[in-house]
Amino acid sequence: MHKVLIIDDSDINLTLIKALVLKLGDCEPMLFDNPLKALTWCREHVPDLVIVDYMMPDMDGLKFISAFRALHGRDEVPILMITANDQRDVRYEALLGGANDYLTKPIDRIEFSARARNMLSLRTGQKYLADRARHLAVLVDEQTLAIREREKELIFRMSRAAEFRDPETGAHIQRMAYYSQAIASGLGLDAAAQKLILEAAPMHDVGKIGIPDYILLKPGKLTPEEFEVMKGHARIGYELLKDSGSEILRAGAEIAISHHEKFDGSGYPNGLRGHDIPVFGRVVAVADVFDALTSERPYKKAWPLEEAVRFLEEGRGKHFDPLCVEAMLAKWDEVLDIRRRFKDEDVPMI
């Protein structure tokens, strides 16, 4: 049902136009003899067609059109202006000022019906396009979400593939990712950055996929030469992930190459110092080491929490960014909760 707004200070014209509108079918006429009252109504309602007289007290039709068009979302509603035969200047002004078409008095039913139907067809097309645009936007949102979820799943599985070649576990990936998020939160990074580090941190050791088994799985201590090869996993991870179209993979590349850097410049692969190390790398360094220390491995027992905390504190300004250590300790309750949620035998998806 089309809402047709009719504004004319003459009762006889209102009655005539209403009758003609009803003859169009599928129309609900709204009548106003006062343009100011019509404008008030328009603040709450969006008509499908406006038919407005030119000469009215209080506000003429041109001023009404201008005020109507200024209302939010009313810029495309079709408007028919009614003028007298001798008002060519007014008709030009109306068309330039936002009216879509005009009718001359006395009103001719054939002309009226044709013009009104054209305007209503235009309106139907506008609404169809708007509905379709909304529908497409919803579909795009749904598909984007699905792609994003698949991206997260692939990242998790890729990270696990690397970890399977290593004594570390899937739960380690989860814990260190959530510790990283907690530290990012403690540092005051924004919500988007916190989410990004949560999703990218699992890829920190993905470069281990390129390390030979005899080194990666060696039960004993590595020789200096073997350790040099092992250190290559940071750069391999970076090469695997860099230049991706995905923001998460790019963040993963940055984390992969920087999470073994140390705050005093003694880390690898680039020997970066202090704030030259990307903040995600400084955060993940704390999270990764803390979880490695507090987890049991085939070659070692889990450290008690107090000892792991002492290790972090003693490493402030040397191995670790002091602010990242402070941020983790400030989130201690959250850290304990993450340990409880992600145990080594139970690995839910992120």
């Binding site: 200070d9 003459s10 005539l16 009758a19 000469m55 007298a84 001798d86 039913r109 054939i110």
Partner: protein, 112 residues
Amino acid sequence: MAGNFKLDRGPILERLGGDEEIFSMMVEMFLQDVENNCASLGNALNGGSLPALQREAHTIKGLLATFSDDEGAAEAHGVEQQAKKGDAGGLPEKVAFLQARMREVAEVLRQL
């Protein structure tokens, strides 16, 4: 001055797509409002407001044109334009004519 009003239903009904129902409705509305319209026109003149007179003459022009009274509508148009220009010369007579014309059209319509 215009001659006597003669109703010609043909062009009126043609404009209304031959719809007798709408025609009857308009006749009824005209008869209902004719005295109010004459009074508003007179008040505008007596109040000395040319913009108000311009507006009322415009309304009368539309009403007379609705019933294809081209001569009456032309007189109303003359008053409208004169008021718009701010020229008050001879307006009382012209307004009186328009009021009489409205009543004359009403009388013809009452005979239907």
